[in-house]
Symmetry: C2
Subunit: 221 residues, 2 copies
């Protein structure tokens, strides 16, 4: 694993998967070298920002030529830790859980969903994106059997803490939660909370305060 | 509208809706004043960060007492522009669109979903969260009739650009896109792209690089 001298900022960490996904597309297309200008055009990020981000972890490219696609992919894989091929379990197979279970980008990045859990008997037993939904009562057993390291919680808020407790007890190390409340977990467990309303609030902010001006910075594409 | 002397960073803009939602809960509970320490505990954000964020837009609170909940709510509403009561339309009522149409926080923040659009005849005509799904062919007419200003795109990537073009032609000013591609829109239109894999990538990064260390910074709750 690479050693990082400096801590990498959250903003850079959020952009790395965007770079990575696009680099994979370039690789598939047989492209070996890409300039920061061209990559920037594809992603809607300025070439300066890209060069700054990539310098953070020691990817310098070749002056006047560009970045080697393969090498850069490999570096990003190591930084994000995607070489681990994380196994993921999703608790709560409502519409959002269902959408996530079928979310192609997870697989593209190396996340494999190998457990789906719910309490609803109409959903248990169904095949969602190639995985059979099992009763949440069996969650701990499936997590142990499959070696699932990351849990996604899309249950109602009222049961999210209980689900998180069970995930932690079963050996989960990181949790991505869509439930609108703060989860209490031991210090060695990583929790990241997604909030789908942040994007809309950002649009509201920009429409209110920056009308008539292009929003290239906030467009993460 | 408030005038901002300095540009507010994206990170602050992303935290504002989190503050706002929690302040609404405090308001509902009849709490008039909250300290940055107590607010920090509830949200998992350090009191220093909260004070710094709120100082950005001139909310200073009362030393040794705290912030006035009502006043702070009102300030955040004005900053984000939520007093506008934005109307929202969602194109693509698959599982993700369905989940978003029922996402309670949107309404709590003042976003009203008044248009749902799809091409699938099994979905058209259904009542999803109180709104009837209409054919995407009627989208422009519904956007004009309802005065919808913000569009959410959850369609397959292959049709997302076409949907965005039609939204823009119909008068939409901001687009939140879940489609995994860069949308091309006129300069005066705001596009913000959501990527559900960023949270997982962040967890992978922290599990790989910071194991055994608590992740309070990355826990946006």
């Amino acid at each position: 694993m690479m050693k990082h001298k400096k801590a990498i900022s959250d903003a850079v960490i959020e952009r790395l998967p965007l770079y990575y996904r696009d680099l994979l597309l370039l690789k598939d297309a047989g492209i070996d070298i890409i300039s920061s200008e061209r990559l920037g055009e594809r992603l809607g990020i300025t070439p300066e920002q890209i060069r700054k981000d990539l310098t953070c972890f020691g990817a310098f490219g070749k002056k006047g030529v560009g970045y080697y696609v393969n090498e850069l992919c490999q570096q990003i894989v190591e930084i994000i830790g995607l070489q681990q091929h994380w196994k993921v379990g999703i608790a709560g197979i409502g519409h959002l859980g269902w959408a996530l279970a079928n979310y192609k980008t997870f697989e593209r990045l190396g996340f494999r969903t190998t457990g789906l859990f719910d309490v609803d008997h109409r959903i248990i037993g169904q095949n969602v994106g190639g995985v059979i939904v099992t009763p949440i009562a069996d969650m701990a057993a499936v997590i142990a059997r499959e070696g699932i390291q990351i849990g996604i919680i899309t249950t109602p808020a009222a049961v999210a803490q209980q689900v998180a407790d069970e995930m932690v007890k079963a050996g989960i190390k990181g949790i991505l939660s869509f439930a609108p409340l703060r989860l209490t977990v031991p210090d060695n467990i990583f929790v990241f909370r997604e909030d789908l309303s942040i994007g809309l609030s950002r649009i509201s902010y920009y429409l209110t305060n920056c009308s008539g001006k292009a929003m290239t910075d906030a467009d993460r594409t």
